[in-house]
């Protein structure tokens, strides 16, 4: 990691300015408050300076406890702003508009303890939102108690730099004086500093290293403070490699004030495992969780560079501000270089509520194809067709299943995407078809940097059509990436997205077949010779949008266009699979993401878990880290541990840099091959469970992999535990992150007990257990009271498992009851949207297991069915020692015997097993234990 190559806050004028301001009562007031189009509108003015143009504000409420706040320049002001500020399109899902609540009347009154009136906006039965007029402040509160949940500008740090016309040099001096319009006068000292800063002519240009940013509209940043009440910790705002619960960055009690959390999509070479520094993606969504309120969230839809401080208690001690709350509170400072305020407040109060609320704005994760939820084998690079064939054959030889083989950049003809290096890959279709015959898929990489080569069809067409991002002078932007001199399609433009999508048709992408899917890398975008290895901020996009305004969402549009392409390719019948590195809020709708170029070190294995938890919490459910670590050579022990954890990542892919030694699973001796095979088998065994969880995420936004507190919201011991995680609501996994470990302490939450996933051994909940650790596996447990569907036969790939029979593992709780779900569809198409799926609920109570239908049964929907049966039912924690089971539908009795919990590790001790009940998974049935 090259620290000096990236800007820190001090080198970033807007960040430095915002950070240097001190909290104080705001000089801003809300005026002209009224209702319009079912929402509250108002103007924000500075009571100390009437020269400053007012801003317009709107507050709207949406179903399920969501408040939306917008603040922008007033287009009707005189003179009008030089241009419209960028509002991020295509991130808020269209359905969200229909959830708007039409406000009927304006409720304005002076609340207790205030000296000025406030306007109150209805949110739901329990919560409302308050706009305090003077000083300007917005908060969400609990109606009955009046207690605050989230507030904005309680510390008076709101600032909004308005766009200016670039004037001739001589006029610039004057301009400077009326610039800091939304700062408070009593911040004299800091203001001095800020002024000094500006004297360096930085209004109109900004330099970083050898790059100059022309900044034609002057500074245009926005900043404000947000407070979370009843919060013990805040989480979210990925992507970065650091702890899950966000450590404070500033305030008393911190020895070293750190950098703020940065949200700026960058290709960071060899990133370090613990830093607030932002990586490849940006999701400006923060979640707070605490014992007293529960969970709440704040999302700022803004794609410019953002910096966020998490402040320690007492940072505002000198401000004279005392917020009306005796509960724990976490204050944060949000700063963005450009854009508008378009912010969403989510009231919770349960963790899953916040996630549902957030994904109702940005969309729920796409439903992946079944194959994509299985194991992926990748390397930079599988060199040629022979290499591909050998690797594929070796998986079979070693009886290790895998579903997807990946080709990195070297498969192309000179890094020209959509082409093949014909010397290495003379028969791409045949190669794909060979794998497809075994039910396997391939993925090729397609990056946005397009080689500037007149003989390259893609470049020719993009140039002719004017589809590239432009530089500040209006010429096609020319930057350096893998192919050398490159340009970048401007996928902000829907027309260009549509054109890009068409590149993926079988006709246009020569050598592609229906079993080929896509990987988008370098879409931050990575520009090797650009400032901070990315595109200059003054580059221009469709509609005159400056790159600074949309930087963080560039990769999102590229990902979106690619996913659209795959959908178009299959005539809308085949679910796309596109892996992206760059992300923004809403990327979950387009495909999977991975955490980029990590390193083969234990600490990188450890940090992969909080990274995936943060992504899941902010909507990106389908994520994973490169198993084994991208850079460097993992010791076999690390590799094995990584597979053991990775088998539970939502996205499970091994990947490696081309300088590393080969590390396919069979290359480390028989024992390690066995251990890795075992880890991969665990994933395949649990595929029915995973697929059900993917569907849950698809319908509710609740991520596949969750923090413990999402399932146990009131257990404080779990709030900052990021070594363990939940897979769904039934499995708890604790990674092993150090070498040669013999013991590990694992906290098992809740009142119910837990069953070791492999042995069935019972552990009490609500306490920490010191466990013996072997190389065989990492600690993993099934929660009492749950039922997990499995498929225990290992095939070459998930494709061959489709008709295999199920095993149901019932982990009984203290009242001898349990329940679970299973979702099944065709694994490929969108027919599930029309009801073509099986969704069962299994309930075990009173000695009876019942399977009931959860899917709608209305006629006219398309249907999906399967002849798969249940071959085995395992009862964990059964006290009675039953001998037989009675199947009510067929009126047959079947044997109950003691069997192994895991077939391939079938060691002596037995668990109660119902042998061959033979019921169809798609049917309703009841089985009574006799």
């Amino acid at each position: 990691w090259k620290k000096d190559e990236f800007r820190n806050c001090n080198q970033t004028p807007f960040c430095k300015r915002a950070r240097s301001r001190k909290p104080a009562p705001s000089s801003l007031i809300a005026t002209h408050v009224s209702l319009s189009d079912g929402e509250l509108v108002a103007k924000i003015t500075n009571r100390r300076d009437d020269q400053i143009k007012p801003l317009i504000l709107s507050l709207s409420a949406y179903q399920d406890g969501i408040l939306r706040l917008k603040i922008d320049e007033d287009p009707s002001s005189i003179p009008p702003p030089p241009k419209k500020r960028f509002e991020v399109p295509d991130v808020v899902v269209p359905e969200f508009a229909s959830k708007k609540l039409w406000l009927q009347k304006l409720d304005t009154k002076t609340l207790d303890g205030d000296s000025s009136p406030s306007s109150i906006v209805y949110l739901n039965e329990e919560y409302d939102a308050v706009l305090r007029h003077e000083p300007f402040e917005i908060y969400v509160r609990d109606k009955s108690s009046g207690k605050r949940v989230i507030s904005l500008n309680s510390h008076g740090l709101f600032d909004f730099e308005q766009l200016k016309h670039k004037k001739p040099k001589s006029d610039q001096e004057e301009e400077k004086h009326d610039h800091d319009q939304y700062q408070d006068d009593d911040q004299d000292h800091d203001q001095e500093q800020v002024k000094e800063e500006k004297d360096e002519d930085e209004d109109w240009a900004e330099r970083f290293r050898s790059h100059t940013d022309s900044r034609p509209y002057g500074p245009q940043s926005i900043s404000f403070d947000v407070s979370f009440y009843g919060a013990d910790f805040v989480y979210g705002i990925p992507e970065r490699a650091t702890s899950f619960a966000l450590k404070p960055t500033r305030g008393p009690g911190l020895e070293d004030h750190s950098e703020p959390y940065r949200l700026f999509n960058l290709d960071v070479f060899e990133y370090v495992h613990d830093a607030p520094f932002g990586l490849y993606g940006s999701i400006p969504f923060m979640i707070s969780h605490g014992k007293s309120h529960g969970t709440s969230g704040f999302f700022w839809l803004n794609a410019a560079e953002m910096q966020i401080d998490v402040l320690t208690a007492g940072w505002d001690a000198d401000s004279g501000i005392s917020l009306p709350s005796d509960r724990s509170r976490i204050d944060t400072l949000w700063m963005s270089e450009a854009g508008i305020v378009d912010a969403f407040f989510f009231v919770g109060p349960k963790p899953k509520d916040v996630v549902r609320q957030y994904t109702s704005v940005t969309g729920t994760p796409a439903m992946p194809q079944l194959f994509a939820t299985a194991y992926h084998q990748c390397r930079w690079n599988y060199r040629d067709e022979e290499d591909v064939e050998n690797v594929d054959a070796k998986f079979d030889e070693n009886n290790i299943p895998y579903d997807v083989l990946w080709l990195d950049i070297e498969h192309t003809d000179g890094k020209r995407y959509f082409t093949w290096d014909r010397a290495m890959f003379p028969h791409p279709e045949e190669m794909q078809n060979k794998l497809a015959a075994k039910g396997r898929h391939m993925v090729t990489i397609v990056d946005p940097h397009t080689k500037r080569d007149d003989g390259y069809f893609l470049h020719k067409e993009a140039t002719q059509k004017g589809y590239y991002v432009k530089d500040a002078n209006g010429n096609d932007f020319d930057g350096w990436c893998w192919p050398g001199s490159s340009s970048y399609p401007d996928t902000l433009n829907p027309e260009i997205r549509s054109w890009w999508a068409d590149r993926f048709s079988y006709e246009n992408y020569v050598g592609s077949t229906p079993s080929l899917y896509i990987w988008n890398d370098m879409n931050e975008p990575s520009v090797f010779n650009g400032p901070e290895l990315t595109m200059p901020r003054d580059a221009l996009h469709y509609g005159g949008v400056e790159h600074r305004e949309l930087h963080n969402v560039y990769g999102y549009y590229f990902h979106m266009a690619t996913a659209d392409g795959l959908q178009k390719r299959g005539n809308g019948k085949d679910r796309p699979f596109v892996l992206s590195r760059a992300i923004f809020a809403g990327s979950q709708r387009h495909g999977a993401i991975w955490t980029g170029d990590n390193t083969a070190e234990w600490e990188h294995l450890r940090v992969s878990v909080p990274m995936i938890l943060s992504l899941g919490l902010t909507g990106i459910s389908f994520s994973g880290a490169d198993v084994g670590g991208f850079f460097g050579n993992p010791e076999p022990e690390l590799l094995v541990r990584w597979y053991q954890v990775g088998a539970f990542y939502p996205f499970f892919r091994a990947h490696a840099h081309h300088d590393t030694k080969r590390r396919e699973p069979w290359l480390f001796g028989e024992r390690n091959t066995e251990l890795i095979r075992d880890a991969i088998h665990v994933r395949y065994m649990l595929l029915p469970y995973f697929y059900t969880l993917f569907r849950e995420a698809n319908t509710s936004g609740v991520p596949v992999v969750r923090p413990l507190w999402m399932e146990f919201p009131s257990e404080e011991a779990t709030f900052n535990n990021d070594e363990a995680f939940m897979v769904g609501n039934s499995i708890l996994v604790q990674g092993i992150y150090t070498e040669r470990v013999k013991h590990a302490s694992v906290y098992l939450p809740g009142k119910q007990s837990w069953y070791d996933l492999r042995t069935g051994t019972t552990y009490k909940g609500g306490m920490t257990h010191k466990l013996d650790i072997s190389e065989d596996s990492i600690p993993a447990f099934q929660r009492a009271g749950t039922i997990i569907p499995r498929k225990d036969r290992f095939r070459r790939s998930s494709t061959q498992m489709v008709n295999d029979p199920y095993t149901l593992v019932i982990a009984l709780n203290s009242s001898q009851a349990a329940e679970g779900e299973l979702y099944v569809d065709d694994g490929k198409s969108f027919d599930f949207k029309n009801g073509a799926y099986i969704h069962r609920r299994f309930v075990f109570a009173d000695g009876k297991l019942t399977s009931v239908n959860l899917a709608p049964t209305s006629p006219g929907n398309s249907r999906f069915s399967t002849s798969s049966v249940v071959e085995r039912i395992i009862l964990l924690g059964n006290a009675s020692g039953p001998k037989r089971a009675h199947i009510e539908s067929t009126n047959l009795n079947v044997d109950i015997e003691l069997g192994p919990l895991w077939l391939q590790r079938g060691r002596g001790s037995g668990v109660v097993t119902i042998r061959k009940p033979g019921v169809r998974i798609a049917d309703d049935w009841t089985i009574k234990i006799l």
């Binding site: 290895l533 590393t660 071959e871």
Partner: protein, 605 residues
């Protein structure tokens, strides 16, 4: 879903059927863990953890399915392949649930396989004969080598005595000369000066003593003490041998190319030198910002440096962090700067991508050896014009890798030693050391004789050492790899020539660049693999290594050199040495079995 099995014993090998056909109603799991009833055999539910009860279904993860494949070869499949929709057995018996139809292809496939097997057998048959011949030849040659070694050791003893005598005489002469010189000086100079001279004389004597023993390891010595030995030459014997002059040039050469540290010995010194060189190059390139990926580069000066770069240079520089390619371009510049004499290198660096600095270093290495060899041959030409010891006609002798010392002594001409003995005796007799001043002609002849004899001695010792070195090698259980010694096998692939020299090293050559893929390490996998390891270092990767798989073939030929993992090469070498009789029998047996299966119908199951 389970489908009725066509046959209760499906998936069981014929030799295993009796295990299942017991009279009892219960069958034991083979691992002894449980037993199961006959109705549970192949009932699509796994009862035995080891899969004993489900040979014909996919129910047990550890099960194996047997397909008979009449007309071809029987096969055991992982049970996971049963009814998975993919035809694995050529008789189609693994897919019986009706979801796919698998045609029986055993007959055709079997024929192809049999033909292939027949061909292989033919190769083996011929190969086995060749191998026998080689083994015989190897045994003879080895005996010869051993005999020669014994003889050489005897000769060494005699020659050592002679050299000792000559040295004594030489020392006496020099002492006498010195005495006389001192006496003369005394007359002219002060005593203090004279004492100094005495000291100098003392040190000179020591040096010469060193020289005597160390010539056996010419290379080492030359590298170790280039300056000193030149110095000695200056003061001492002016009419020195050509060998010493070569030493001087060689030193010049090596100094220009590689800055050796002088504390390492022998071959090792080359390696160390190279590594040090590489390390230096790296250090230097690290100073240039951002070339070598260095997570702790210093902020300010790094940014200053990149500002001087053009946009394209910056782009390349950053790309190189991931690829390493450009960083080597930097290294190349450093090399070029260090090494202005070698105009050819620049071009060579451009030609390859990753191997520059390594390739460069190993060329240096080769050069050194070549000088040494030429040097050796020159001398050999002067003194011994005898027939070659080795029958190099049939072998491709690799003179670059190892000096050919064969001509120093020849068993067929034992008289050379006697000749020397006689000459020495004459010389010794002739010189009258008590005569003052010493007769210059006589003194010179003693010196010359001493130099000649000790040079011969060192060559003799060098030959002894190389012969012992050779005899120490592992030539395989039947000495079948004896002929690989002193041989190299080449394979040209695209722009590269791969050179595999067993017991020595393996390299990859491209025009003027040589990259060492590895030094000889050992045989592995019961003499089926030759390992070369610790080759030139890879940028950001491991040391290069080469694994040569051996297979039976009629000629010694390298083929299919590949780099499956970065800097880890594999190659295939066919050789009669691998054509083992047991294996031939095995193959013949296999063919018999296949032929036996042929006439049977394949629909039996």
């Amino acid at each position: 879903s389970s489908s009725p099995l066509k046959h209760p014993l499906l998936g069981i090998a014929p030799e295993d059927e009796k295990y299942y056909k017991t009279s009892s109603d219960w069958i034991k799991c083979k691992d002894g863990s449980k037993k199961f009833s006959k109705t549970q055999l192949n009932d699509d539910f796994c009862d035995c953890p080891d899969g004993t009860d489900e040979p014909g279904t996919s129910a047990c993860p550890l099960g194996k399915f047997y397909c008979r494949n009449s007309g071809h070869t029987p096969l055991f499949l992982y049970s996971s392949r049963v009814n998975d929709g993919i035809c694995d057995c050529c008789d189609g018996s693994d897919e019986y649930d009706g979801k796919v139809k698998c045609p029986n292809t055993c007959w055709e496939a079997g024929k192809v396989a049999r033909d292939k097997l027949k061909k292989k057998i033919a190769t083996y048959q011929e190969g086995v004969t060749l191998r026998k011949q080689d083994v015989e030849q190897a045994k003879l040659s080895l005996a010869k080598d051993e005999a020669e070694l014994l003889k050489l050791k005897d000769e060494e003893k005699i020659l050592k005595v002679l050299v000792e005598q000559l040295k004594e005489r030489k020392d006496e002469i020099e002492k006498a000369e010195e005495k006389e010189r001192l006496r003369k000086e005394k007359e002219e100079k002060e005593r203090k000066e004279a004492e100094e001279k005495a000291n100098q004389e003392k040190s000179k004597t020591e040096k010469e003593a060193n020289q005597g023993t160390s010539e056996a390891e010419e290379k080492t010595n030359n590298e170790e003490k280039p300056i000193e030995s030149m110095h000695v030459d200056d003061i001492g014997t002016l009419e020195d041998s050509s060998a010493d002059q070569d030493v001087v040039t060689e030193n010049d050469e090596s100094e220009a190319e590689v800055e050796y540290s002088d504390d390492s010995g022998n071959e090792g010194s080359l390696v160390d030198g190279v590594e040090q060189h590489a390390a230096e190059a790296k250090e230097e390139s690290a100073v240039i910002p951002e070339t070598v990926h260095d997570s702790e580069s210093k902020g300010s000066d790094a940014s200053e440096k990149t500002e001087g770069l053009s946009k394209e240079e910056l782009g390349r520089l950053v790309a190189s962090r991931w690829t390493g390619e450009n960083a080597e371009k930097q290294t190349e510049e450093v090399d070029a700067a260090n090494d202005k004499d070698h105009g050819g290198h620049e071009e060579m660096h451009k030609a390859t991508h990753d191997e520059e600095d390594d390739g460069y270093a190993s060329e240096t290495d080769d050069d050194n050896q070549r000088y040494e060899d030429e040097d050796m041959e020159d001398e050999v030409d002067e003194d011994f014009r005898e027939e070659d010891h080795y029958d190099s006609g049939s072998y491709k002798s690799d003179s670059d890798a190892e000096p050919d010392l064969s001509d120093i002594t020849t068993p067929s001409n034992p008289s050379w030693l006697e000749k020397i003995q006689k000459t020495v005796q004459n010389v010794l007799r002739a010189v009258n050391i008590f005569q003052t001043p010493v007769n210059q002609t006589e003194a010179a002849s003693v010196r010359k004789e001493y130099d000649d004899s000790s040079a011969k001695l060192s060559k003799l010792q060098s030959r002894i050492s190389s012969l012992s070195q050779k005899l120490k090698q592992d030539f395989g259980p039947d000495k079948e790899f004896y002929s690989f010694y002193d041989r190299c096998f080449e394979s040209k692939q695209n722009k590269y020539v791969y050179k595999v020299c067993p017991y020595k090293q393996a390299s990859q050559e491209e025009s003027h660049t040589t990259t060492r893929l590895g030094r000889w390490d050992k045989f592995e996998d019961s003499y089926r693999v030759m390992m070369f390891s610790n080759g030139d270092k890879c940028w950001n990767g491991p040391d290069r290594s080469l694994k040569v798989r051996l297979r039976c073939g009629l000629k010694n030929e390298v083929a299919d050199v590949d780099e499956p993992s970065r800097c880890e090469y594999v190659a295939l070498l066919s050789t009669p040495a691998l054509c083992l009789e047991e294996k031939l029998k095995e193959l013949q047996h296999k063919l018999e079995l296949m032929n036996k299966e042929q006439p049977q119908s394949h629909d039996e199951l």
